[in-house]
Amino acid sequence: MNQHPQLDSTGRLTHLLSIEGLPREIVVDILDTARSFVSVAERDIKKVPLLRGKSVFNLFFEPSTRTRTTFEIAAKRLSADVINLNVGASSQSKGETLLDTVANLSAMHADMFVVRHSQSGAPNLIARHVAPNIHVINAGDGRHAHPTQALLDMFTIRHYKKEFPGLRVAIVGDILHSRVARSQIHALTTLGVAEVRVIAPATLLPADVSRLGVHVFTDMVTGLKGADVVIMLRLQNERMTGELLPSAQEYFKNYGLTSEKLAHADPQAIVMHPGPMNRGVEIDSSVADGLQSVILPQVTFGIAVRMAVMSILAGGQP
């Protein structure tokens, strides 16, 4: 397994499975291309003909209306035909294996699979088994990766902060279970920020996370000190009480972003959240709706970034 699973033999991006291992130039190219798609969204006709005649299959083994919708809008703005499959409800319950499902859909002349799955590595497995002309985009797999979310976050950071070097970025919350955090960490280190910090209680930190190139804090105030970007992660309901955390209230007391805690960050710091937010659990409403919040623009940029990824993948080989 020497070859990078997302690049072809000439180093071109052929699948987007993870940010880890992507050359910096490819990440920057995606962000640059996305900027042009932002301007497309400002026109009367928000559509370009790039993917005319191509079929994009949204293959969601795990329900997610929001992410699926942004991919659907992105594909449609590229003039692709979009087929949404809620696979969890059909094939899998009939005992069809993941690869059988993919083989059947490939026979329907799919050009691209957008895959969300509860198991880490499911998109990698699919990418290994599809024909070379089919592209796979990871729309979130288990705890592993959510590369398009991280790319749109990078787009947002660049939009507001212009440059990556020199930035101190703090990621706060459930790092252990978060594919978003993992992809953000890889994207930030690839783009060369000065420092990535993760802030969480020990029960929500994965083993050896510092090996990913981050500084680990369990105290939020210390971790936020001087941060230029504060990224809050969503805390899943089922994790709020039990063996990992005593209660949502206690979590909010220690790790919820309030204006008092935010005051320890750089005065120009921006606040981000991949959504959907739990107000009063990981973030106070006054911060979420405050001047430093860039949570809504994140959503707009998400479509442009996904259009960029799709158009870079689906083009012919030079």
Partner: protein
């Protein structure tokens, strides 16, 4: 038949013999080593110069998948793989479907193995009924049917109380208990070692403490009950160190590791390679080095293949959903040779971990090459290099993390009870 094995390098780890000698087989037994017995007339001569002649290998962890899991393997397919790998005796864990918890099931397996007449099969009986950890099995009757030890396979015992009772009872009837040390509550849902790789790949983790907490409990209760305990598939630095200490303290404890853990680490999972989804999980390089050191100094008694055939449908799944395990019968010898070369361990010492030591753990004959012993032999070319090709392995399972690897050491003849069962 009288067979003359001429000019080979004969290695018998039990006696320490390592010399170029001729071996004379007469009927089912080894008749003589060195000079022919008087009046010996060979009906067949095997030219073995440049080859190594050693006792047939004894593999203490081979899943035959019978009864109940014949879509993954059968006795026929796996016995063929065994002898192709030079294995002449094997022990199978009780995790079949149904588990080996009734004498009838054990007798049937023994009967099937005898009629196939390829390889000695030693079943390990279930420690608890259905491996459910609630009721003890009829160990004496299972032993009469052919079980040589009792085990839970990879199924957990629910609590220390059940473990204590199992050890007390097994020591009463004087059979060893084989346990894979893992505290289930600490391993719950995990599929990979709790380290950087699992963190990067987002795989649910099994910390080392899941192993050490269990080893600690088992050793305390073994001391308490004087039961004979064998720890299966150690995986961690700390686990090996605890066994080393227990042995130094005079406790009757033994342990083994799988051939996979002798060569692979969690880094080999790479891009979610599900053939590296193993029980216990592949751990760090530091752990690998500790396992190798433990094997070299004798803390670890035996190497096994932990042969676990899995069909493609259950393996070609996302890592966390794939069935765990790898096949290894045909790789056991070359991978042991590879370790011996890399670690600078003499072959005679390395082969002990595959022959006399595991035979002693099972308490069965075999694993020895001496006059009067059953002629269970393996003749291999130690220099022959071959490439592991999934499709050409004889096991019904093709699941191996070593596909594509170049390995040295090729079995040319396997003999069981004086019969050539593979060449």
């Amino acid at each position: 038949m009288n067979i003359h094995i001429a000019g080979g390098r004969v290695i018998d780890p039990a006696s320490g013999l390592d010399a170029q000698q001729d071996v004379y087989v007469s009927g089912a037994d080894v008749a003589a080593i060195g000079k022919p017995p008087s009046g010996f007339r060979a009906e067949r001569t095997i030219e073995a110069s440049g080859l190594i002649v050693c006792p047939g290998l004894v593999d203490i962890a081979v899943r035959l998948r019978e009864p109940g899991l014949e879509h993954r393997a059968t006795l026929e397919s796996e016995a063929a793989a065994a002898v192709a790998g030079g294995v002449t005796s094997l022990a199978c864990p009780p995790d079949t479907d149904p588990p080996l918890d009734e004498p009838g099931l054990v007798e049937m397996l023994k009967y099937r193995a005898r009629s196939l007449n390829l390889v000695h099969v030693y079943p390990i009986g279930a420690l608890t009924q259905g491996l459910l950890g609630r009721k003890l099995t009829e160990m004496s009757q299972l032993a009469d049917a052919g079980c040589v030890a009792f085990s839970q396979g990879d199924a957990p015992l629910p609590d220390p109380q059940m473990l204590l009772r199992s050890l007390q009872y097994a020591s009463t009837v004087n059979y060893p208990v084989w346990l894979r040390p893992q505290e289930p509550s600490l391993a719950s849902g995990g599929v990979a070692h709790d380290g950087e790789v699992a963190t990067r790949l987002g795989l649910a983790a099994i910390p080392t403490v899941a192993e050490t907490a269990a080893v600690s409990t088992i050793l305390l209760l073994a001391r308490e009950t004087s039961a004979r305990v064998h720890l299966c598939r150690l995986s961690s630095t700390e686990g090996v160190e605890m066994v080393r200490q227990a042995k130094a303290d005079g406790l009757r404890v033994s342990c083994d590791i799988s051939i996979n853990h002798l060569h692979l680490t969690d880094v080999d999972i790479g891009d979610f390679e599900s053939n590296c989804n193993l029980i216990p999980p592949l751990r760090s390089r530091r752990d690998l080095q500790a396992l190798r050191a433990g094997l070299a100094d004798g803390t670890i008694d035996a190497i096994c293949s932990d042969h676990t055939p899995v069909d493609d449908d259950d393996k070609q799944l996302p890592f966390g959903e794939a069935a765990a395990g790898a096949i290894g019968l045909e790789l056991l010898l070359p991978l042991t040779i590879k370790w011996a070369e890399e670690a600078g361990v003499p072959l005679v010492k390395a082969l002990a971990r595959l022959t006399s030591a595991p035979a002693d753990l099972l308490g069965v004959a075999g694993g020895r090459l001496e006059p009067g012993a059953s002629a269970d032999l393996c003749i291999f070319d130690p220099t022959h290099t071959w490439r592991v090709d999934r499709e050409r392995l004889r096991s019904q399972g093709h699941n191996t993390p070593f596909a594509g690897h170049q390995l040295k050491g090729k079995v040319l003849h396997t003999m069981v009870g004086g019969h050539i069962v593979y060449e």
